[in-house]
């Protein structure tokens, strides 16, 4: 079985952002992604997956629990997340579908990230409630997204690839109005 430990530093945040730059938004490098679903409602959850909705865990790849029977696994590279293939079988009750090309990653870095997200999303990003290591599926700028709090002032934002241009444009438009 995979050794899984809760991880709060899964993504390296570029150090020493200049104080003038409250926010950097960039398209993340392509990474392999799998959506993992539990098919059998009665099977117990594979222990390698985080159990509580809105939490994440990291071993060979980062796994976000997005719903009671739904996870998103994200690799560090383009190759698919190397979860043990035996994990997905009729017996385990888990299936995995490759969504590498379906989901785009935007990396938000800087102290302005929370402000920016609050401009289009109703989630409470207060650090006591949405701490590092928390994730959620929500709506930002009217579209479905997954927000993953990966480090101090660092948020990874996942949206459907077809929305990437819209999302980038929205983020850049709104960040013009961030207070310094």
């Amino acid at each position: 079985m995979l050794e899984v430990v809760p991880n709060h530093n899964a993504v390296e945040v570029p150090p020493a952002l200049s104080t003038a730059t409250r926010l950097q938004v960039r398209v993340g490098e392509a990474r392999g992604k799998l959506t993992i679903r539990r098919v059998h409602s009665e099977t117990s959850i594979w222990p390698g997956l985080p159990r509580a909705v809105g939490t994440s865990a990291v071993a060979e790849c980062r796994v976000l629990c997005l719903g009671p029977s739904e996870w998103l696994a994200i690799a560090e590279t383009l190759s698919l997340p190397s979860l043990r293939s035996g994990a997905f079988s009729a017996e385990s009750g888990l299936i995995a579908v490759d969504v590498t090309c379906a989901i785009a990653l935007l990396e938000l870095r800087g102290s302005g990230a929370r402000d920016l997200l609050s401009g289009g999303c109703g989630i409470d990003f207060d650090l006591r409630r949405f701490a590092i290591g928390r994730c959620c599926r929500t709506r930002l700028a009217m579209i479905a997204v997954v927000i993953d709090h990966v480090g101090e002032n660092a948020y990874n934002l996942y949206c459907a690839c077809s929305y990437l241009a819209y999302m980038r444009s929205w983020l850049s438009d709104k960040s013009r109005y961030l207070k310094p």
Binding site: R38, V39, H40, A90, I95, V97, C101, A102, D115, M142
Partner: protein, 991 residues
Amino acid sequence: MRRGPFRIPAGGTLDRSRTVRFKFDARPYSGFAGDTLASALLGNAVRRVARSFKYHRPRGVFSSGIEEPNALLQLHRGARSIASERATMVELKEGLEAYPQSGWPSVRWDAARVFDLTAPLWAAGFYNKAFIWPSWHVYESLVRRMAGLGRAPDGADPDYYDVRNLHCDVLVVGGGVAGISAGIAAGGAGARVLLVEQQSALGGQCAWDGAAIAGRSALSWLDTAVERLRQLPDVKVLTRTMAVGHYDHGVVSLVQRGDDGAEAPRETLYVVRTGKLILATGAIEQPLVFCNNDRPGIMLAGAAREYVRRYAVAPGRQVLVATNNNSAYATARDLKDAGVEVIGIADSRADPSAELDLDLRSLGIPVFSGFIPIDTAGFGGLRAVTIGKLSQDGLAVASRKEFACDALAVSGGWNPTLHLHSQGGGNLVYSELTGALEAAAVRSTTVGLVGSAAGINRIDEVVRHAGATAAALAATTASTGAVATGLQEPAQKTLTGAVASFGLRISPVGNTARKWVDLLHDVTVADLELAVRENFVSVEHVKRLTTAGMAADQGKTSTVLTLENIARLRGLRPADLGHTTFRPPFTPVTLGSIAAGDVGEYFAPRRHLPTHAWHAQRGAVFQDFGEWLRPVAYLRGAESRAQAATRETHAVRAAAGVFDGSPLGKIEVHGPDALEFLNKFYINDLSTLKPQRVRYVMMLRESGAIFDDGTVVMLAPDHFLVTTTSGQAARVTEWLEEWHQCEWPQLNVAIVPITDQWATFSLTGPRAREILATFETNIDLSNSAFPHSCLRVGHLAGIAARVYRVSFSGELTYEINVASTHAQTFMDALMSIGICPEIAPFGLDALLAMRLEKGFLHIGTDTDGTTVPDDVGWGAVAARKQQDFIGRRSLVLPENLRADRLQMVGLASLKDEDLQPGSHVRLPDSVEATDGWVTSAARGTLDGRPIGLAMLRAGRRRLGTELSVHDMGRVTAARVVALPFFDSTGARMNA
């Protein structure tokens, strides 16, 4: 600088070193930094600022706050113009331009004053009674010209509006003494606090009224308190911010006016989700009702006090004060101290000295006990006031006095500002003790009332009670952790203070048609009398007939007086009458702040195809289809869109074309019960589906109406691919999820939307196979190995692909799905094949024309929310299916079996004129206004004749019938023909 004639030389909280120039009605004036537009106008002795809504009577500034019913002005010109701004709330800025909103030729001399002289004609509801004969439309244009206030800006708003989501444990609305005390207590208890104040600084009344708090000056208390707030780590303060709506689950909306600065948004809308809400919203003074109580110069007493103390502006040169309670005495005293001549105080109570516990002689102002204003005089503004002492029975005037004066400060008591409390479901009751609508006994664990909103007026008690209430609420918030107990700090509601007692506030004598209740909508006591006479019983009904309380001020100074008047007329106690409903917003909100950033490019999300740029390079004209930007045609040179579509269809029919169908909805359904699950959704029997075979499927709503169509393929017994129409992909996914989660959770399936994972390209045309065969591939493309309605999984030019043989164009088609990140590589490879002169990319226009020719259904274009499968020729398939499916039961409802239902047919124009979608069709012998309509139209791709699809009454029986087609007054003729128009054997797509 010319000092305003009403400006008092010293005092106030103005910055007299900074003169601010502004214009009103195109005339230049000046005021000081710290002025509002209203105080600056008064300072310049501008008394007439508006004309009333109905009678065009002159009106002046009436209040000093959000309740202002008269001084609604148009600010600025051009695109930034804004209508009905309350002058009392507008901070004076250099260069401000304000205009009256009514009055012709001017606000000072208004010809429409004729309506005032003929007032009996315009009683409540006159438009419902008078404009019936011969028709409302005869009067409409005139009424439209006369009615309304203000003008819309004459250009697109150039400013930026922002929207923010905020979260807190405790939201305190109001930054006066009560709100600050509550904020400190809640913040001190460890709660996350948001404190909002409508003005630009905290303090409220205590910043100018000279009160003492805890034995020291209010200003010194305020400094300390604001500093404490600042030091609390989790307290955020928003000034210039109005809380306008209170909704379920602790959602409160705020609107913040922008401060100066080029990059700042003009307004910001905050959506706050709070655990607890504390209302420190204060109280609004109510006026008195007497004849001609609307003249410029008549003003609320509290406002008069604020103008003189805060803005150093006198409301007039000779001021009479009229009150029914104690609060106006402070006004009289402050006016006198500022050197304004105070003629006297008319107090409607018999013995005010006992109420005040004061020797009235010590005031140095004459007090007329038991007197109430009876009438006023003055054409353009107040000249004289008559006060009277009533007879024993209260029906006649026993004695009267007349005073020449140019200002009258009136006070009819104070009503707590509980709009947000009421919007959130809190109950209000009329109190006989205070004559106000107060909160019913509060047992809420989430909403607390403090300060004068809670009816508490003694300042030290306000501080203590607000702090204790906030601490109790904060103790049970998320941050502090305890469980709510439902306890509220009991208030010591000693009524020593402003409204210790109150006397008569509605004069019972005089012409009721001249006694205004609602100043903004010009509603008089006579209107209320008429309504009650006409048997309008409920306050809600009286409100709607008379429009009392329905104006832009939402009755802030009229609701209680309206209630009292109706109660008196109906012989009831006001408490038994109930009250009208308070709804958001509390004050008017601009459309700009509601739309916030969701304008222009961000009005709706946009989705891009994986190879968007590639299409753009080829001259694609993009259109928005359910969020997706899709090419409708690829223009070459000076081609029109129609010419391009014709060229593209010819290319496809002759050789081959490629269509980007990436938005096609794609869903994977996994699990041992996937087949059973999917079979519940479609009218088609999936139990006979063989692996790798594609089945065209149609799904219905419970009503039997067609919801969507697409395909289902079995990859493995526990793995299915489902496609949906492009526009419905998300809706179908949600539909599947909803039924799985709510109705059939026992079925072991997982539904995975994968639309964005796969780019979809339709290679279509007679040479499609030949082209595809040039790729290196492990798929046998021969017709025998890979016939129509099959799917193959393999590689094309080294790229993993799922290839369907399905056709929407009627030609041999390979629908190739590749991972969207490989889309560009694949397209480059495809286009570099030199076998044809070229493979034409074609857009939706060409595709839809070709599918029309084949008679293929386009859901949502040819169907609507009433179309059932039989209407479009799929009735037999649904009837044959043995198993149950969603919507099946509805298909046998009598309505869905009617013989004269609209049915899909083909139309061929008889006159070589284009058919237009939406045109109505009529059968030759018809007695009906319409027998159906054209749903799609095009020109035949090979012969160019105009053809169309239509939904026609009992259409399938009408083959060969000639009918008329009606489009915007143009009439043409068409014949009902058999479908399809093209390749009826299907030889081409099966080739």
